[in-house]
């Protein structure tokens, strides 16, 4: 392979890895929105919290694999507590209260993290199995990034299977389109909401663990990813999983190739893309409602 193609492929892998991680965050956000109608501003705070949990577990046990298992679950538990004891209480007060409540939760999580872990950068090392580069067809790839892509694909397929092939998924999809009706049919919708919120934060947590070794763990960790995740949800259409996947990948490639070719404009490419899509179709690619 000549160097130019190699460069394209390497940037493509970078974009794919970022896009898939973005999808993990955005899918949780869009699931929660689609079902509960809540734009969870605290979502990125959960993402960051999980990275700190990951650091803590690695520091205590020395095992990244254990962190990959424990940190997202712990994050999901925090998410479930927030849903059960805070969000559910203000659900009756309407959209505005729920939105501002998630802002408050975001402030509290972001500041508590600083109280417990300080503001300096914490590094997480990946296990030896995932370190280094792998040689495929004369090209060298980072094993860790390939691992992220593979893991995200597994999660994606698993999620799609549950949502579209099981009874549980059917109930969830029905609740997305009309929660009141599903409740009337005798399904415990508040419990379902709690579960979806848990799964959503678990997905954010998984992405948080995945990104911890790449970027190191610090309080501003969620800034870039959080912004991109919100854009993905807007542009993909609120509540649409397919839209989230498509726009996540576009976003990943835009950022990786954007840095390559027009590095000056790279940070704003995504915003320009969003503005164009929204001017043409205000509800996003696959959105049906605002």
């Amino acid at each position: 392979m000549d160097p130019t193609t190699a460069m394209y492929v390497a940037q493509g892998i970078h974009g794919l890895a970022y896009g898939m991680m973005l999808f993990l965050v955005a899918s949780g956000l869009t699931l929660i929105f689609g079902m509960m109608g809540i734009l969870n501003i605290a979502h990125t705070a959960f993402f960051m919290l999980s990275a700190y949990f990951c650091y803590q577990v690695v520091a205590m046990t020395g095992s990244f694999w254990l962190a990959l298992l424990i940190a997202p679950v712990a994050t999901a538990l925090v998410g479930i507590i927030v849903e059960r004891y805070f969000l559910r209480k203000v659900h009756a007060a309407g959209l505005l209260s729920e939105l501002t409540l998630t802002i408050g939760v975001m402030f509290v999580i972001m500041e508590l993290v600083k109280v417990f872990w300080g503001t300096e950068n914490l590094t997480v090392t990946v296990p030896p199995l995932l370190q280094g580069l792998i040689n495929v067809g004369g090209l060298e790839y980072s094993i860790y990034r390939l691992f992220i892509i593979a893991m995200s694909f597994v999660v994606l397929i698993f999620l799609a299977f549950i949502l579209f092939k099981t009874r549980l998924g059917m109930v969830v999809r029905a609740a997305v389109s009309d929660a009141d009706m599903v409740n009337v049919l005798g399904i415990n919708v508040p419990f379902l909401f709690m579960g979806v919120f848990g799964v959503g934060t678990w997905l954010a947590g998984l992405a948080g663990v995945a990104i911890a070794p790449i970027l190191t763990v610090f309080p501003g960790l969620a800034d870039q990813m959080g912004m991109d995740a919100f854009i993905v949800v807007i542009v993909g259409g609120f509540g649409s999983l397919g839209g989230a996947l498509l726009v996540s990948l576009i976003s990943g490639f835009l950022s990786s190739y954007g840095v390559q070719f027009i590095s000056q404009l790279a940070p704003v490419l995504m915003f320009i893309f969003m503005a164009i899509v929204l001017i043409i179709k205000p509800v996003g690619f696959f959105g049906e409602r605002e």
């Binding site: 209260s97 939105l99 409540l101 802002i103 408050g104 402030f107 500041e111 600083k114 109280v115 205000p282």
Partner: protein
């Protein structure tokens, strides 16, 4: 009758204490009051959107920042730019940005409206950081000359003196607040409230919903621009910080804590946060943690904020008076 006298007394006390503030309170506290007033106006401008029209925005900082940057750029680049002209340029800067965005945002509502503002404000934040030759990047624009207010040759007031600037800022903000209050009392203000209550019905009654939203939006942007402009003059420095998301969340917090949908709510909210910040800064660096907890508690237990609480107390007193009057009547 009693009530009316009481109202006058309260107003006189407020105005008198504001007038006497720089004389008795010293420089530090005077500057705290100016900051509070700037944020009060910013929160009121935000409440015009959120409380009256029912539009929830996550990016109101961009109008604050546009006003601040426009004023700062005018003063830094125009030789001998008068004070009021720089203020006007700040307002026009915000208005221009609003007019640019209105075609995109006026059709949206709810979450899409909120999120597109978040995205645009982040876009402006990134641009302010990247366009170094215009905005000065992270350093911002600082050290521009603050002109004196006056008629050349007749009189002139030095605005670098904190007392005169205090009076200037208070008068400008006071007039702006009065105009904002007046707008909410006009027929157009009623249309704004009805859009919040029932958008579809307003449309059926023959009002142009999108146009009304756009006008309210532009007005709100102008008031935020005034706040930003005063902020730039006050600090003699504008950095990308004032476009940051934290500045968009501040008016949301103030409006929610003060009482959404009431005119005085955001002003009280701004005062509450000013006091809390003054106190917490002395004990801890984590001011945001305190703010977040207050926000959560207010939303969960006092959904109508400070004004709602006052309303509740008023009703309790009224009930007691009524009960007393009824008991008297019976005896």
């Amino acid at each position: 009758m009693m009530n009316r006298y009481l109202k006058w007394i309260v107003w006189i006390v407020i105005v008198a204490s504001l007038v006497l503030c720089p004389i008795f309170c010293g420089m530090y506290f005077t500057n705290v009051v100016v900051t509070f007033a700037i944020f009060a106006l910013f929160a009121v401008s935000y409440n015009l959107l959120l409380g009256f029209v029912g539009l929830f925005s996550f990016g109101h900082a961009m109008y604050f920042g546009a006003g601040a940057y426009a004023t700062a750029l005018a003063l830094a680049h125009i030789e001998g730019c008068p004070l009021l002209l720089s203020l006007l340029i700040g307002i026009l800067g915000s208005l221009a940005l609003a007019l640019l965005l209105i075609p995109i945002v006026a059709r949206l509502s709810h979450s899409a409206f909120a999120m597109i503002h978040l995205a645009f404000s982040m876009l402006l934040y990134v641009l302010a950081l990247k366009l170094r030759n215009i905005t000065g990047g992270e350093d911002g624009i600082g050290g521009f000359p603050i002109p004196s207010l006056g008629i050349p040759g007749v009189f002139s007031l030095d605005m670098t003196d904190f007392t005169t600037f205090y009076y200037f800022a208070m008068i400008v903000i006071g007039i702006s607040l009065w105009v904002a209050w007046f707008i909410t009392k006009t027929p157009f203000g009623q249309v704004m409230v009805s859009i919040r209550e029932n958008t579809m019905r307003v449309g059926y009654m023959g009002f142009k919903v999108t146009h009304s939203k756009a006008v309210a939006y532009a007005l709100s942007a102008c008031f935020a621009g005034i706040a930003g402009s005063i902020y730039a003059l006050f600090n003699d420095l504008v950095s990308a910080d004032c476009l940051h998301i934290g500045y968009s969340f501040a008016p949301i917090l103030m409006t929610m804590v003060g009482g959404v949908g009431t005119f005085l709510g955001p002003i009280f909210g701004s005062a509450i946060f000013a006091v809390i910040e003054e106190i917490t800064v002395r004990y801890t660096e984590r001011v945001e943690l305190v703010n977040g907890i207050i926000l959560i508690v207010v939303i969960m237990y006092f959904p109508y904020g400070f004004m709602g609480m006052i309303g509740l107390i008023k009703r309790k007193i009224l009930e007691k008076q009524l009960a007393a009057a009824a008991a008297e009547g019976r005896s």
